[in-house]
Symmetry: C2
Subunit: 428 residues, 2 copies
């Protein structure tokens, strides 16, 4: 019996993979311009990292991690997100001691969460994220927001909505926390078990609860905005004024909390509007996490970043019919007739490929007609025909498949002839 | 306390990651020319796949897999190699039914083996591999060998050695198997426990044993070459004649077996010669696996491929001092003086970046001297200086850091001016 792919994972096949390559190139080029450099961290970490770095009251840690013991008895976890790992790498490799500061990093790679698979939610999914570590300047909050909005724009997405909030500094958060506990405590028995747990551990996350979202205490809960310290207010205003100066539209939503424990000050989400897209509207989330590096065992360091799902970006492109077609044409197909010509064909494609030309030939002993069909299916721009007669006189016939134009070319000149054709064609 | 990276894994940091990006670009470009298309398969599969597709007598399956149960009780395994997964994807997605045949695929990504970490052997490592499924033409064996040799050559590696062998077809293998059992059986008690197991399960793998390599029966073991069927011999000779025609040097080694169970006909390794490289000399392994697709539950399909470790390729480049330097210079650093100029600077870098220019500014409230130093560390090609005076008259000072040449440019013209400079600079 055939073995199935694991539930919640997918193969990305030729025909689709070109979209992924295109998006990744966009991300690479954008990060080059914004001066973010790539970092690659392992697919798994010690479980302890995510308990500390994501937060043990989060759904991710409580319900969604792929945790296992290796053969040496260590508890390892497939990374459910990138920030904890990048922060761990920042500490392990003492990047805080480098001359170039802040440390501006990006990553693209798979993440793993054991969730109920549904449209736009896979157990293995790919995130593109950036992290800027070492600066508490509101200008870098604006830079990170500008980068993510620009990313979606350069992909060609429309109807984007940037939602921002401030979660304040430690003092603001403590004051707000106390107010939340006082607000929910008298009626906490009306809430779900998770929320009852959250009340003492992390009452902010009650606001994020999907089960209790319609409880009347939700709407009247104290807003963080009433508890922001003067400094936190000024910080948040400065971020907003930069966004205005950059002509990046945004809305402030005081209820935006984000699912991870480590956020403070700026928190944000990018949503996409549109009926075609159904229930999934959040494309990207992020925020500032000034306490995280210390939590992981490093020096006190401010940080801010975002993570976005490539799968969801593709879904949004599809919903908006904005996914570009990708040209998969090859340059040259070498058609051969007879055994001697076939052997020579193996040499010709080798020489063409080594000269930078994409070339293909038959490997199924197809007759001439079948080879021409194969050339057609690969959208070959030129076909090179080599039969016994041509081989005898040391020539091939080269046909431009677009114009139908044919030329006889000496075998020894084929590579330089095709190089000229291909390079000329690319310039036009 | 700081959390450590898991044993046998590594962070790839800026400064090193550029080498990885460069190698990947080489692989992508080569595969484009050879008409192999990318496939991306999940990081884990049902464990059953590797038991069947790698072989349950192999070290990989017996000792090295990261196997765990997910929260639904399924046994999953982090992929220890790529061929089994790609073959599974070929079957799951019915790629054998596509019009373009053979199906020519490549992959680049992490693999996981629980081994004793040592130089060139990590628990998470990255493989580049290709698989050509659906053709039993010796020309495609030659193509795959040509591709891998070309890959290393285009990286700039020298002193490469291609070692090939034929393991024959089923009849050849059965005859050889019987001869091996007869050869070893009388004295199998002198061999290690693993070899005693292998005698009945897979006697070919005795030849691969590291513990018993010096036993006198090893040197006198029957050679597969004495048991090759006429067809197998003809196939192997054709592969060799193609390599000769392509001027690809090779040696035949009748003892080359490869660690995986599924190989038949052509098997090969690429080695690198050189004292600087120490004990690790095998860079790449591969071969033909005509029975594997059926084993996974698909139709009878011939296949051939290779896999190579990027880590080892980099080690070889380093040993040969052939690793290229990568230019990390940014185009433009915007230096600002005073609060109003700083805010304007945020806008300027945003506009420059959106116009395709890599640009950076300060986010640490550094004074002018500190900003100029930062620009220097980033090897900025131009600095743009904006103080209160310049802001008042709507101008900036642009300095070419190579020539020292300075120009005053109107703020509103900066983006177009810099675009000209950068594009002009790239052409020269």
């Amino acid at each position: 019996m055939a073995i199935q792919i694991p539930r919640g994972t997918q193969d990305i096949l030729p025909g689709d993979v070109e979209t992924w390559q295109w998006i990744e190139q966009k991300a690479y080029d954008l990060c080059r311009r914004y001066n973010y450099q790539e970092i690659r961290v392992p697919m798994f970490e010690h479980t302890e990292l995510f308990l500390r770095g994501v937060g043990d009251t989060t759904d991710i840690v409580q319900k969604e991690m792929y945790t296992f013991e290796d053969r040496g008895g260590r508890s390892l976890t497939l990374r459910p997100e990138g920030t904890a790992s990048v922060t761990r790498a920042y500490v392990s490799n003492k990047l805080y001691g480098q001359a170039n500061q802040p440390t501006k990093l990006f990553y693209i790679g798979p993440m793993f969460r054991y969730e109920r698979p549904q449209s736009g939610r896979m157990r293995q999914f790919v995130q593109f994220g950036v992290e800027a570590l070492g600066s508490a300047d509101p200008a870098i909050d604006a830079e990170v927001l500008a980068l993510v909005m620009r990313f979606y724009e350069e992909l060609g997405l429309k109807n984007l909505k940037l939602v921002i909030n401030s979660l304040g500094d430690t003092d603001s958060r403590l004051a707000h926390r106390e107010a939340l506990v006082n607000h929910f405590k008298p009626r906490i028995h009306e809430f779900c078990n998770d929320c009852q747990d959250r009340l003492e551990k992390n009452p902010l996350r009650i606001l994020d609860c999907k089960k209790d979202r319609d409880h009347e205490l939700m709407g009247t809960a104290p807003s963080i905005h009433d508890y922001l310290s003067t400094e936190s207010k000024a910080y948040f205003e400065k971020v907003q004024s930069y966004l205005t100066a950059l002509n990046i539209p945004f809305v402030v939503d005081a209820t935006l909390v984000r699912g991870l424990d480590y956020y403070n000050h700026t928190a944000f989400e990018v949503m996409v509007d549109g009926e075609a897209f159904g229930a999934i509207t959040t494309l990207c989330g992020g925020g500032r996490y000034n306490g995280l590096v210390e939590e992981i065992g490093g020096p006190e360091t401010p940080g801010i970043g975002f993570a976005l799902s490539i799968e969801r970006a593709i879904m949004a492109l599809e919903a908006q019919q904005a996914k570009p077609a990708h040209n998969q044409a090859i340059d040259c197909y070498v058609v051969t007739l007879g055994e001697a010509a076939k052997d020579k064909g193996v040499e010709l494609v080798y020489q063409l490929r080594n000269a930078g030309i994409s070339a293909e030939k038959d490997y199924l002993d197809r007759k001439m007609k079948g080879q021409l069909k194969a050339a057609d299916r690969l959208h070959a721009k030129w076909t090179v025909i080599l039969g016994e007669d041509e081989l005898a006189v040391g020539k091939v016939n080269v046909k431009n498949m677009e114009t139908g134009e044919q030329t006889d070319v000496a075998l020894t000149d084929l590579v330089s002839h095709m190089k000229q054709q291909v390079e000329g064609g690319n310039e036009s």
